[in-house]
């Protein structure tokens, strides 16, 4: 009986093709919007977590406190409060895999006739490990080169492209702040950071080299930051407390003094960002579902018209033995079919749009099975919810009145 009724519902929709399509339009737009939003939201979330993973997992970054010259505060990292010894001590802490001290010097870098303003980072070999950054071509510098202050440099992709274009930078010489550096390696591409900054626009040189030759004398032994790689995510908080305790003690800070350094926990940032993007995609999906509700009201409207138009048909059916339940079921099935068909088309349209959007913004905007099942479940509920009243109205008709119409 259900099969026959489904077939009848189908033929009723076909009989009013244009009207059925227009009725479904609300559902189509709503479902397509929800599918698209969930896909884009998912893509953004994936992008964010990937770029965070690209920073190195389980990473703590210790930054020097602000320096002061007279009344002016220099901002984080400008002070001379972090020293190389601090990094050595931090490396001793339980659960710390490696601690890489580093400093940053902005510099105009010259290669032959071309020059380029970039950041020169001075650090130790552990820097590459801690940041999970591997060399693409050539090699990175060794411990020995670092201690000796060798005049070598490893280039980020962007710098390599700007200075050397298509030619091979390996073995070439560049100059920064009057110091000649030999290019020994090119790093793999890392892409953008959170703020959209280009993380490949950088040169890495041995820390000793940077401190001696590039940085002013005043900060000889002082560094800007220490990247700390921690064994596991669970240990992050403990390590963070240990570092704070250790640095306060070695920096001889009194209980009333503020920290002259700061510790940033990337996992906390990751969590915040994930929560934020999840909230945003939920919001977008919520906006889409308003359109679904509007679509449902459209279905109810058309079903009410349909019941009125087909009053005589309902009377005939009742006269030849359709129970009220059967009449109700018939109209519910029609409403359900409208909403589910609309949903099907909406899923197709939404998936198509998500693919196009993915091409444009360069995200992976895959439509998940979860999103599709949610769309169908919601559409079915809407079909039944908004179909119920018209169907009940049909079922409540008096057969005599209905036949007379």
């Amino acid at each position: 009986m259900i099969v026959t009724m489904l077939a009848e519902a189908w033929s009723a929709l076909i009989a009013n093709r244009l009207r059925s399509v227009l009725t479904m339009l609300g559902m189509i737009i709503g479902v397509a919007a929800v599918i698209l939003m969930l896909a884009i939201g998912g893509g953004v979330q994936k992008q964010v977590s990937e770029s965070i993973a690209g920073l190195g997992s389980n990473l703590l970054i210790v930054t020097a406190g602000s320096g002061r010259s007279g009344p002016l505060s220099g901002g984080a990292g400008s002070g001379a409060t972090l020293r190389i010894d601090d990094a050595d001590r931090i490396a001793e802490i339980d659960n710390v895999v490696a601690a890489a001290p580093s400093t940053n010097v902005p510099a105009q870098v010259v290669a032959g006739p071309i020059n380029w303003a970039t950041q020169v980072t001075g650090s130790v070999p552990a820097y590459f490990l801690v940041n999970e950054w591997t060399v693409g071509d050539g090699r990175t510098f060794t411990e020995r080169e670092e201690r000796a202050g060798a005049r070598v440099a490893v280039l980020g992709q962007t710098v390599a492209d700007k200075l050397f274009g298509a030619s091979d930078p390996l073995g070439q010489t560049i100059r920064a702040k009057g110091v000649s550096l030999r290019v020994i390696g090119i790093m793999e591409k890392r892409g953008q950071g959170f703020g959209g900054q280009d993380r490949d626009d950088v040169i890495i040189v041995p820390l000793t080299t940077a401190l001696r030759l590039l940085q002013g004398n005043a900060f000889r032994r002082s560094i800007r930051s220490i990247s700390v790689s921690v064994a596991s995510a669970d240990a992050l908080d403990q390590v963070e407390r240990d570092i704070t305790y250790l640095l306060r003690r070695t920096h001889r800070l009194k209980a009333s003094d503020d920290d002259d350094f700061s510790v940033a926990n990337l996992t906390a940032i990751t969590d915040t960002l994930s929560t934020t993007t999840a909230a945003i995609s939920l919001l977008l999906a919520a906006i889409g579902s308003i359109s679904l509700v509007v679509g449902g009201i459209g279905i109810m409207n058309i079903m009410l018209v349909s019941v009125t138009e087909r009053t005589r048909e309902i009377g005939i059916r009742m006269a030849i033995g359709a129970s009220r339940a059967a009449v109700r079921l018939q109209f519910l099935l029609e409403a359900l079919m409208l909403s589910l068909l609309g949903c099907g088309i909406g899923v197709a349209v939404g998936t198509g749009l998500a693919m196009v959007a993915g091409k444009f913004i360069g995200f992976d905007t895959a439509v998940t099975l979860f999103a599709i099942s949610i769309a169908f479940a919601v559409s079915a509920s809407i079909g039944i919810f908004f179909g119920w009243w018209p169907a009940t109205r049909a079922a409540k008709l008096s057969p005599i009145e209905a036949l007379r119409s």
């Binding site: 099969v3 033929s11 005589r312 005939i316 006269a319 030849i320 033995g321 005599i400 036949l403």
Partner: protein, 242 residues
Amino acid sequence: MTALLALDNVIKDYQSEAGTFRALDGVSLVVEKGELVSIMGPSGSGKSTLMNIIGCLDTPTAGIYRFDGTDTATLSETALARLRNAGIGFVFQQFNLLPRLSALANVALPMVYSGVAKRDRDMRAQTLLASVGIGDKPKSRPSQLSGGQQQRVAVARSLANSPELLLADEPTGALDTKTGIEVLALFRSLNEQQGVTVVIVTHDPEVARATNRVVRIQDGRVFYDGPPTEAALYGHAEGATA
């Protein structure tokens, strides 16, 4: 023979703004199984109301209506629907076929509601179409058929669940004379050969003449109940209630 229909002092009131209107005022009537009866009366006489009550489309305000021994007042809505489905076959003046369905699907529709499997109901529907003489047009829509053919489809549909009562409301009203005679002959043969009880509601004396018994209704009462004499057919047989 057991009485198929037994109306005992049936009263039907309608409420309107003008007050209560009594459409049936104490109708008592017994129809045995296998009878071929016509119910006559001018418009407003209450014959349509009587037909609705006999067809279980409406319920009496007072009095008892038994169908095949069962007091219909004791039946639920669903049970009444089942009775209309399998116990009674309706034939209407305007055929009342569903325009979207083929002739075959129209005939099969009552069997959908009684839960017959698709294969079986399609087979039976085809047999019924053949038995009313239009076995060659199962796929046609009602709009593609002539009035007579549509009424034959309607008769076939009314027989779908082998009902005990065939209830026809002005079955020839929308047909030309010749086709009307053919449809009436169909009713007669169903009555004589298959023993189906047939009740035809009509105002047409020529239709009533083809039946074995005439019940005349006037002002909500049975005015005449007896054989189709000329006087009965043309409304001069006053007080001849059997």
